[in-house]
């Protein structure tokens, strides 16, 4: 592989484009594949199989050939509501797991750049903030403020958009009250029960990094269940 091609791959990864690298294992030639774009002759004859690998988000060697395909998929979007202490550790874990984090917090003193360097922080109320983030059923929400004014609108947005993971911080009692409010807002039991509350897997820890670990573990586990 040429260094220039490596740079191009890194650039594509950074711009969150879905693509694949196809390599001829015999002569070492490789190319970047993007759906709809044509490849050079030696790869074009395997187009159908390459398309298949790409659709299935699979890596591997095409059967009876020496062509290897590695697919790159977009990072999963995770929206954290509440730029609190736990969020600072979540950001650290998410970096090594390649989740794409956005933080929403209308409270400026929490959502400061100094507390979250190099992070996308939206210093607005959830209803306004979600206008700036494209979300769908492949998105996740972690609500951390346990303030109904901030968490509830975000939870409602996530439920309406069918996020695959929705978690909300708070005790059992806090969560019961939250469920009651969502019921009154017109959400059904199935929707409400899909919220992970109290959030996270049972680790037993109570410190901010431990709670962050239990949340991120649950998020990864739910990602693979989907």
């Amino acid at each position: 592989m040429k260094h220039s091609q490596l740079k191009e791959i890194i650039k594509k990864k950074a711009s969150k484009i879905e693509f694949a690298i196809v390599t001829n294992l015999e002569n070492g030639l490789s190319e970047i594949y993007e759906p709809g774009k044509s490849l050079s002759k030696e790869f074009e004859i395997h187009k159908e199989q390459i398309d298949n690998f790409f659709k299935l988000k699979k890596n591997g060697v095409i059967e009876n050939t020496e062509i290897f395909i590695e697919t790159y998929i977009r990072p999963i979007k995770v929206i954290i509501v509440g730029a609190v202490h736990i969020a600072q550790y979540l950001v650290d874990f998410a970096k090594s797991l390649n989740f794409e984090i956005s933080i929403i917090d209308p409270r400026g003193y929490f959502a400061s750049e100094q507390r979250f360097p190099d992070m996308k922080i939206i210093n607005k109320w959830p209803d306004e903030a979600f206008k700036e983030i494209e979300t769908n059923e492949n998105s996740a929400l972690i609500a951390l403020t346990h303030d109904p004014k901030i968490d509830d609108p975000a939870l409602q947005h996530a439920l309406n958009k069918k996020f695959y993971y929705i978690g909300a911080l708070g005790s059992k009692k806090t969560h019961e009250n939250r469920c009651q409010r969502l019921k009154e807002a017109g959400f059904n039991n199935e929707q409400i029960n899909s919220i992970h509350g109290p959030i996270g897997i049972k680790l037993g820890g109570r410190s901010a990094p431990e709670i962050a670990l239990s949340i991120i573990a649950q998020l990864v586990s739910e990602t693979y269940k989907k």
Partner: protein, 109 residues
Amino acid sequence: MKNSFDEKILEEANDWLNANQKVVLATVIQTWGSSPRQVGSRMIVNETGDFSGSVSGGCVESAVVRECIGLIKDNKPCKKIEFKVSNESAWEVGLACGGEIAVYLEQIN
């Protein structure tokens, strides 16, 4: 849904190249049986044998490093190597897990 878990090895390779190091990229391209790392797992090696990333759980990395240095010395563009189940005497370069893997080495230049 598959997570886009990514270990940023290519980004690290770019840093090494920018620091004028010679870099070989090793990629797991096939696995059989119970192998520790999945297809697409990566590792980089420079001319002095420094390495980052992994292609197994530590079972065959030393052999991969040797092969990569050889590739740089012989100035070859690429090579495919396979590792099979280890036996007792060859504990250093085999997969104790009972799996088999094929690793593709390529120089980046």
